[in-house]
Amino acid sequence: MLNSRAPVLAGLVATLFAAPAFAQGEVNVYTYREAKLIAPLFEAFTKATGVKVNVVSANSGLEQRIVSEGANSPADVLLTVDIARVQDALNAGITQPLKSDVLEKTIPAQYRDPAGNWFGVSMRARVVYASKDRVKQDAITYEDLADPKWKGRICIRSGQQIYNNALFAAYIAHYGEAKTEDWLKGLKANLAQKPSGGDREVARDIAAGKCDIGLGNTYYWALMQNVETDRKPWVEATKVILPTFQNGGTHINVSAAALTKHAPNKANAVKLMEWLAGEQAQHIYADMNFEYPLRTGVALNPTIASYGALKPDAMPLVKIMEFKKVASVLVDKVGFDN
């Protein structure tokens, strides 16, 4: 049955199954940040430079995909939403060092690889959401969370989830394995319920009175405040406290960009990475994604600024990542998620 729709369908099938062309004026991005949510950034880049951005996003396995694609891989840039994935990419040997004066000048040294294998582009902090009514204090330490005075009052998502995994790894970097195990046991004993849900559910559960404090990322609270207006009751019942380590600052993590080893469009890839550190992109990160811009001089979003002055923990991210495996093992060992 051939009709007028047949050629259209054939064209569609051809597009879906065709391998991407290595045309000029393109850059191919593999990203852990969701394609749809990063689209405004890439649209602005294309408008500014005329370079088209092709995107595929996933939640895991992009390094393995690039490894197996080998020299044929179309990937130019790998974008991650945390330091752990970019470290995996480095270990898999799929990145190449980039010497860029622009990036080295804009991105502070602690948020990029000394060898130039990856560059941080934006930052967020792991902070405390607390009930406005039932929690009077406006300062807290991570160590405090294991204090028995919080018994039955804390909500948290799975201890194996990457945000918590990175925080626990940071705790190990500060105090070592044994002390962290005790702290995790104390924290576990304080939980109001079994870990589940996401960071938003922490605010929801506090608002519902199931618990009084919990852990969440800085941008979730800001998103609920500014974008997801039907979640306003959750933020109205809660406040954000920037916790610190007793001997340090607030735990942060960065989204990072890495140039791939076989990047077929290297010049455009570098152009994109440098653009991401530029004024316009950093404003988009601040105001659309509610992250901390890494370029100095770019203003914070007002909601993020309202949390107070952020003092990022000085512990190097690369050092923290050395302990992510131990952190994962400890979570199982103390039965954190059970």
Partner: protein, 551 residues
């Protein structure tokens, strides 16, 4: 293909099906062997006790819910006439089109502290906070059984419905005439005859639950699959993760073996079933009065939980958000690509799955049946693990293409398989092949081998025999299998997420992008589109699966 060459062609098909699935398994095994095994001490001490217990509770709960709901509704729809039956018949298949994790999100909203249900309770009884009273928590194993049970029961429903409808009603009628109660007829005749199909349907439920990661993680259930991912991602131990996945495979192999043993028990019923098609005109006993409405209610409850409530919630969100943010114009393109991939998977699985099951029957040797069982293992791998296992074989094929291209043209052709939609279609087909082989084998088991013998004695070639006997008898089962593969492919997430080409989204990867940021309501329209695409084939299949209705 004529009578003498059939076994050779048959051998090729059976071996091809096994090799198809062997590719990712080899990839997995290679990774498992690369691991050093250090993960096991830790897993056995701290993870497995909880993970095994949670997984077992989840699977047992699901077996009960899906078994009771799936078989019960299929029995009512197939055996009785009651108000709304023809509509409920296809509505009962639709929950399948929802990704389980989306339904999990919906019920956490609907039954949560700020949802309409608890809100009404608070207003009614004057509570102020959610902590002032007790309400079941959706984020629990019980919640997971509820959510996944009402999404997955259609696997059992469809498999059982096809078998109930094509059963020998004359046999049941005779039993009634000699005084057996309807309950006894169901227990002693109808159920045993449908047992292979019910077991095949339950298998699909359990495997689908084992593959789930989104719903379990969100609801706080520690499944074995989750521990595979934690081992891989947090401990950076891909080898250990592959080993854990291999252990899961063994668990599944035991399931498959148990199911086959169960099929053996039902064998003595087979000869009755072989000649059942002529009873096709039977349309069920009329249920009058409260009994009829009772049946309507019994079939409506699962439809409400699995389909109507999630749809209503999503529809409301879709309207609110479309008015606020507008409609994403790209959705149509994503829907089209999803449709094309799913259709591709249906074609491949039907050809290969029916071919292999039929071939194994023709060969009638243990090794052939073993090959078909082996081909069923693709479903046992979590989608991401399957996709990871395929990366290496795809790369080998692409390298070969490029080597050839360089010899002739001097320039590489890029990633012909891994960089195109072919990767997704192949992976989906490997994963969903067992749906076709499972239902086809269950159907074939009910066709007496004497019938084959008679046809061959009468001089019919294998091709004629298949075309005139097996294919027509199997058509309802194959139609049901095609529907399940299609709908499953529409909503499949892990494979599409890792293997899709640049700039391509499927509806499920689109939905996931929002869900992962906790704003799944923004993708409500896309989630509804998945269901909408599934509706037309669901309506057609259920009509098609009715005896006497050949097209």
């Amino acid at each position: 293909m004529n009578g003498t060459s059939a076994p050779f062609a048959a051998r090729c098909i059976v071996i091809a099906a096994a090799l198809f699935v062997a590719a990712p398994l080899a990839g997995l095994l290679q990774r498992a062997l690369s691991g050093n095994g250090e993960v096991w001490g830790h897993l056995i001490a701290f993870v497995l006790p909880v993970a095994v217990a949670d997984t077992a509770m989840l699977l047992c709960g699901l077996a009960v819910v899906c078994g009771v709901v799936g078989v019960g509704t299929a029995f009512l729809v197939a055996s009785f006439r009651f108000p709304g039956r023809s509509m409920l018949a296809w509505l009962l298949t639709l929950p399948l089109a929802f990704p389980a994790y989306i339904v999990a999100y919906v019920y956490v909203e609907v039954l949560g502290a700020f949802g309409p249900v608890q809100g009404a309770l608070r207003a009614l009884f004057g509570f102020r906070l959610a902590s002032d009273y007790w309400f079941p928590n959706v984020r629990s194993i019980g919640g997971a059984v509820f959510v996944m049970g009402f999404v997955l029961f259609p696997y059992v429903y469809l498999a059982a419905l096809v078998m109930f409808r094509s059963q020998n009603h004359a046999l049941a009628e005779s039993a009634r005439v000699v005084g057996a109660s309807p309950w006894r007829v169901a227990r002693d005749i109808v159920l045993p005859m449908a047992r292979p199909a019910i077991a095949a349907g339950l298998m699909l439920v359990l495997l689908e639950a084992l593959n789930d990661i989104g719903a379990s993680e969100y609801l706080g259930v520690q499944t074995l699959t989750l521990s595979v991912f934690v081992t891989w991602l947090n401990r950076g131990d891909l080898g250990g993760a592959a080993q854990t996945a291999c252990m899961l495979l063994i668990v599944v192999a035991v399931f498959v073996w148990l199911e086959r043993r169960g099929r053996g028990i039902g064998r003595n019923m087979r000869s009755f079933a072989g000649h059942s098609q002529q009873a096709g005109a039977h349309d069920g006993t009329l249920l009058c009065g409260w009994r009829g409405w009772g049946a309507t209610l019994a079939c409506s409850v699962p439809v409400a939980f699995g389909f109507l409530i999630p749809s209503a919630y999503l529809a409301q969100e879709a309207i609110v958000r479309s008015l606020r943010n507008g409609v994403d114009a790209d959705l149509l393109r994503h829907a089209a690509s999803t449709f094309v991939y799913a259709s591709g998977a249906v074609v491949v699985t039907l050809l290969l799955g029916f071919g292999a099951s039929m071939a194994a029957r023709l060969i009638a040797r243990g090794w052939a049946r073993l090959c078909v069982s082996f081909a069923g293992l693709g479903y046992a791998l979590p989608g991401t693990v399957l996709a990871l296992g395929l990366l290496t074989p795809f790369a080998l094929v692409d390298d070969a293409f490029n080597a050839v291209a360089r010899v002739f043209g001097g320039r590489g052709v890029g990633l012909v398989v891994a960089g195109s939609g072919a990767a997704i279609v192949i992976a989906l087909s490997i994963r969903f092949l067992p749906i076709v082989t499972g239902l086809a084998e269950a159907g074939l088991a009910r066709i007496s081998a004497d019938l084959d013998g008679a046809a061959r004695t009468a001089g019919a070639s294998a091709r004629t025999m298949i075309a005139t006997i097996h294919l027509p008898l199997l058509r309802p089962a194959l139609a049901a299998a095609a529907l399940i593969v299609f709908v499953d492919s529409l909503k499949e997430l892990s494979i599409a997420l890792l293997l899709r080409p640049l700039n391509v989204e499927t509806l499920s990867t689109y939905v996931y992008q929002f869900a992962v940021r906790g704003i799944f309501e923004d993708a409500a329209l896309a989630a509804l589109l998945i269901v909408a695409i599934g509706i037309v084939p669901a309506m057609r299949t259920v009509r098609f699966a009715r005896p006497g209705n050949r097209g």
